[in-house]
């Protein structure tokens, strides 16, 4: 499958600040690619360079085989964009906005049909400034679809939305993927990246610190699966004396790291022989979130807690 987006050694400096610092990745056509990172990581800078809204300081960028900065007008015919914090003219209605975009692009679309695709047809004739945050983002999605784009760039499309509105946007993104469109998504929600994306790149301070499918990232940076049960510290002490596995005790849990699935049997046998009390057996597995927090936290403690919200 050809690559829709191809980025090699991309860098962007603002004065002395290296907002994007040597980033490389490719996005195959028809896939959802999530750029995951805390605030200030360089997501918007990267995505705007891909859209041709900003020039780069170094590196090469191709979107659908075009240079976004030089070939802007040609590229814009084929891409759809929702900028971060999408806004439209306060007094204009969604239906009018879609008609406006359609006329600008010279495309013939049924405005109501487009609004229906993003679940906004009920608000077709409401002023933009009366829409909720989620409805505004949906209009952004509708407008980005007017020219039937091959690639969509969505910069934090669900930031600040309530969970239900967020799910609505996710549904639309899934539908876009099903239609064979490429979606480049930035987010600081790990759940969003793991639920939607075929590929994820974690960006931090302008650099990609990990990339691949969510499973690959977890496999590469996550801890092994752990057998977990509720028990006291005496159980943890007993097990670490008897077993060759790492045992941790974060009350009320005792976790035993497994090297192989079969190790679980050995752990349970030893535990049963101990005659000590325990409860609630489960297997704990790292999520993208655990990996993200550990990876980013390792680079600078505290950044995630204070900036990601």
């Amino acid at each position: 499958m050809p690559d829709a987006i191809c980025v090699e050694g991309l860098a962007k400096r603002y004065g002395t600040l290296r907002a994007v610092d040597g980033v490389s990745f490719t996005v195959p056509e028809g896939r959802v690619f999530a750029f995951l990172g805390p605030n200030g990581a360089g997501k918007t800078t990267t995505v705007e360079i891909l859209e041709g809204l900003r020039n780069r300081s170094a590196g090469s960028v191709q979107v659908l085989g075009l240079d976004p900065w030089k070939d802007g007008p040609e590229l814009h015919e084929q891409i759809g964009v929702i900028p971060q914090e999408f806004r439209f003219f306060d007094k204009i209605h969604p239906r009018e906005a879609v008609v406006y975009y359609a006329r600008l692009f010279g495309s013939t679309v049924d405005p109501l049909a487009i609004l229906r695709r993003v679940y906004l047809e009920k608000k077709a004739d409401a002023r933009f400034d009366t829409l909720s945050g989620g409805q505004k983002q949906k209009l952004g999605l509708a407008l980005s679809l007017v020219n039937n784009p091959r690639v969509l760039f969505l910069d934090e499309p669900t930031t600040g939305l309530d969970p239900q509105a967020r799910r609505g946007i996710w549904e639309v993104i899934r539908a876009l993927r099903a239609e064979g469109r490429t979606v480049f998504l930035t987010t600081h929600y790990l759940e969003e990246a793991s639920l939607l994306a075929d590929q994820v790149a974690i960006i931090h301070r302008g650099q990609i610190i990990s990339s691949g499918t969510p499973e690959q990232i977890i496999a590469a940076h996550g801890r092994p699966d752990r057998l977990r049960f509720e028990a006291g510290p005496e159980v943890a002490r007993y097990l670490s004396g008897k077993l060759p596995f790492a045992v941790t005790n974060e009350p009320p849990y005792v976790d035993v790291e497994l090297r192989r699935k079969q190790d679980a049997l050995q752990v349970l046998t030893v535990l049963e022989a101990s005659q000590l009390g325990w409860d609630h057996l489960s297997v704990a597995r790292d999520t993208l979130e655990d990996v993200f927090v550990r990876l980013v936290g390792r680079m600078d403690d505290g950044v995630i807690k204070s900036e990601a919200s």
Binding site: R54, P73, K91, E96, R103, L104, F105
Partner: protein, 366 residues
């Protein structure tokens, strides 16, 4: 430039405008209010005649023909005061804030008939030299006329007085082209400066840059909108000025070039002012600095013919001066040569500013 995209942008411009009562007020209603206001303030000075209280102590044919001669000068408006004695006339004038007054003494008619010398008394207020001068001239002229008649002679040299520009104009007549110019300036300038700076801050231009709409098309649709708006507001102002205040102006087709090129100029200038500023706050300051001198010094409220030479020199640097001068030329004086020169000047300035605005105005940043 594609007409299709300008046509797509125009309905957005018009809806944003018509759904905004403040913009509508300032573009359409405010100029009318100004016409009403200035029209009322200057209504009485329109024909330049001064009210002249007269104490008439002689009721004869001679005294009434003297008063007729006074009225016929067109300079004064005779008002006979009754029930006032000669001794209290001066203090009554003062109390009524009348700057002038005339006493026709008893025996005036008999004196004239008998060819004996007789004086009328004229009170004037040195604090109001304009009214005093006018009335003195009127009384003098009436006196001269009667003297000639008494001597059985007739004047050899007459003066045929006309207002500059070959016709007599009232203040309201100058006010109409002036305020049309005012509307041409202020309505696009203020809204474009604000619009450009806030659109940039809110990222609308970056968003539009992702569509096929070009900057020149975006600017053109606004220019077209303001041309339409100017035509409507000029029509309203003419209607109110002529019907409400008896303005005597022509409405020639030659007005149209100015109603087209004016909005072209000031939409572009507003865009330029809004583009060079980094924030909406500085944009507002720049907009005001550019707009305010033009608002007062281009012949909007006061005809530039009343300006001192240094002030006139300043006025001639301001582009609005040529718009208003052109409108005056076609609406009042019928001077098409002068109007053509004015139009040429405005057109050149407009094209330069339009191009400068397009170059300065960036959708996207480096």
């Amino acid at each position: 430039m594609k007409l299709r995209r300008i046509a797509a942008d125009l309905p957005i411009v018009s809806r944003q405008f018509t759904r905004n009562p403040i913009g509508l007020f300032f573009s359409l209603v405010f100029p009318i209010i100004l016409i009403g206001l200035f029209g009322l303030i200057f209504q009485n000075t329109g024909n330049n005649s001064v009210n002249l209280p007269v104490l008439l102590l002689d009721h004869s044919n001679e005294s009434s023909s003297f008063l007729d001669a006074l009225n016929a000068t067109g300079l004064v408006n005779v008002q006979i005061w009754n029930n006032v004695s000669a001794s209290e006339f001066s203090s009554k004038l003062y109390a009524a804030e009348a700057p002038v007054g005339l006493v026709i003494p008893p025996g005036f008619g008999a004196g004239v008939a008998a060819h004996t010398s007789i004086n009328v008394t004229l009170y004037t207020d040195p604090g109001n030299p304009a009214a005093s001068g006018t009335v003195y001239a009127a009384v003098n002229s009436a006196v001269t006329q009667l003297n000639f008649r008494a001597a059985g002679a007739h004047p050899v040299i007459g003066v045929h007085a006309l207002t500059v520009g070959s016709k007599s104009f009232a203040y309201i007549d100058y006010l109409i082209p002036g305020l049309i110019g005012f509307a041409i300036l202020t309505s696009p300038m203020f809204s474009m400066v604000e619009l450009v700076s806030t659109y940039r801050k809110d990222g609308f231009f970056r968003q539009l840059s992702l569509t096929p709409l070009t900057r020149a098309e975006w600017l053109s649709s606004r220019i077209l909108w303001y041309i339409g708006l100017t035509l409507v507001s000029a029509a309203l102002m003419l209607l109110v000025g002529i019907e409400g205040f008896g303005a005597k102006v022509n409405i020639p087709l030659a007005m149209l070039p100015f109603l087209f090129v004016g909005p072209f100029l000031f939409v572009s200038l507003g865009m330029l002012a809004g583009s060079v500023a980094k924030s909406p706050e500085t944009a507002a300051v720049i907009g005001n600095v550019v707009t305010f001198p033009m608002m007062f010094l281009s012949g909007t409220f006061f005809p530039t013919s009343t300006f001192s030479p240094p002030l006139l020199a300043i006025a001639k640097v301001l582009p609005l001066y040529y718009v208003i001068d052109g409108l005056n030329s076609v609406m009042l004086f019928g001077n098409s040569t002068r109007a053509l020169t004015d139009f040429g000047i405005v057109l050149v300035i407009s094209v330069v500013i339009f191009l400068a605005a397009i170059v300065t105005f960036k959708w996207r940043e480096e």
